[in-house]
Symmetry: C2
Subunit: 244 residues, 2 copies
Amino acid sequence: MSSSSAATRRDGKAEAAGGKPPMREALVAAAFRLFLERGYEQTTVDDIVALAGVGRRSFFRYFPSKEDVVFPDHERCLADMTAFLAASATDDEPVRRVCDAARLVLRMYAENPSFSVQRYRLTRQVPGLRAYELSVVWRYERALAAYLRGRFAGHRDGTLRADVIAAAVVAAHNNALRSWLRSDARGDVSAAVDHALGYVQSAFGDAAAPPGREESDDVMVVVSRRGAPLWRVVQEIETALGRP
Amino acid sequence: MSSSSAATRRDGKAEAAGGKPPMREALVAAAFRLFLERGYEQTTVDDIVALAGVGRRSFFRYFPSKEDVVFPDHERCLADMTAFLAASATDDEPVRRVCDAARLVLRMYAENPSFSVQRYRLTRQVPGLRAYELSVVWRYERALAAYLRGRFAGHRDGTLRADVIAAAVVAAHNNALRSWLRSDARGDVSAAVDHALGYVQSAFGDAAAPPGREESDDVMVVVSRRGAPLWRVVQEIETALGRP
């Protein structure tokens, strides 16, 4: 099961061709089995590599520390998010764009619900993992804020708006995601996250508007069903205002 | 300089009456002198207590760890914030209330600008302190969110709105605070934070609106000046919808 080229594959699937689980995934599986059986603190890296049938060096080729094996996909997801934001068009609506970037994180959790629920419980129990998770969340938030800061560069209050919107997007995403994880992954998490992000878009959907526009006294008339959700009404207004 | 009663005083000023600095402050001063001279990692608790002229037990009476001496006032500030929010009146506008709660944190930083700037620089350099700071910020955010969740209990999307607004308030506060710290504490940080929090209030000032009304297919017509800011248009819509 040794393959030095596998370590350079981001998706960790290079070794799957032979029908055996790739070493990286085998290490994650062994680690979680032991964390659940013995507890996180009581499990050593030596225990993990013994169960996975590999050497310590193999573990550290994939994971800098025991904490990292708990969050095996965040580095890839952060890289995907950064690439996604870097590939944005200049006419992408920036708030919508960071909401779409946040959905990359959701996809990672939704791909493997039972693993995500296990990890969520583990993270609630181990203070060190809570701290690790906070630092991961912070890096996602900074990636979103950096993109928005670029988009709002030169705008009045550009960094303020960027930081606040990035924090709001992360909070909305995590509110829906954690509610789903607490429910043992029942229900449609994508719809829940869409709804949560829609709330942020309704609050900040005008953030792309260049500041200092000439005020005009033109009148805008919006007609909407009373029962329509506010975010949808706001979308209609934005269309009426010509802010795509 | 020994006084067991001092340890129970939250303000650490019990020993100042004799003209000597209180032990707690002496420990903080000694720690920061060494952190700046030698670096944080190179300074031990033994070094700190030797310079302050006290024993190790005295250090640990005030601070659970070396990291805690870097943030000596956050526990008091968190307690103050929790008490402030618990003392809220039922007719306090909730978004304004959490903004006022965030100003308690600002006051702590603004009371001692040079110490705050030193700590900011130190925290940027030491990853362990960044992680500690993230956990402190998280606790402030959860205190604000817990208050808002209580205020929005039973409202549609109550926990979502609470979490998003708490995150937005913290991000706005920190945007203004960190800009001031990076500038070596030049300028009026209170005015900068007021401005930043004003942005959040303009985005979420409607958050107190009671949700959960009967849906209907009645048509709503909103007429507004084209140049009006979106948040004001949204306010008008909410008034039209009867969500005060």
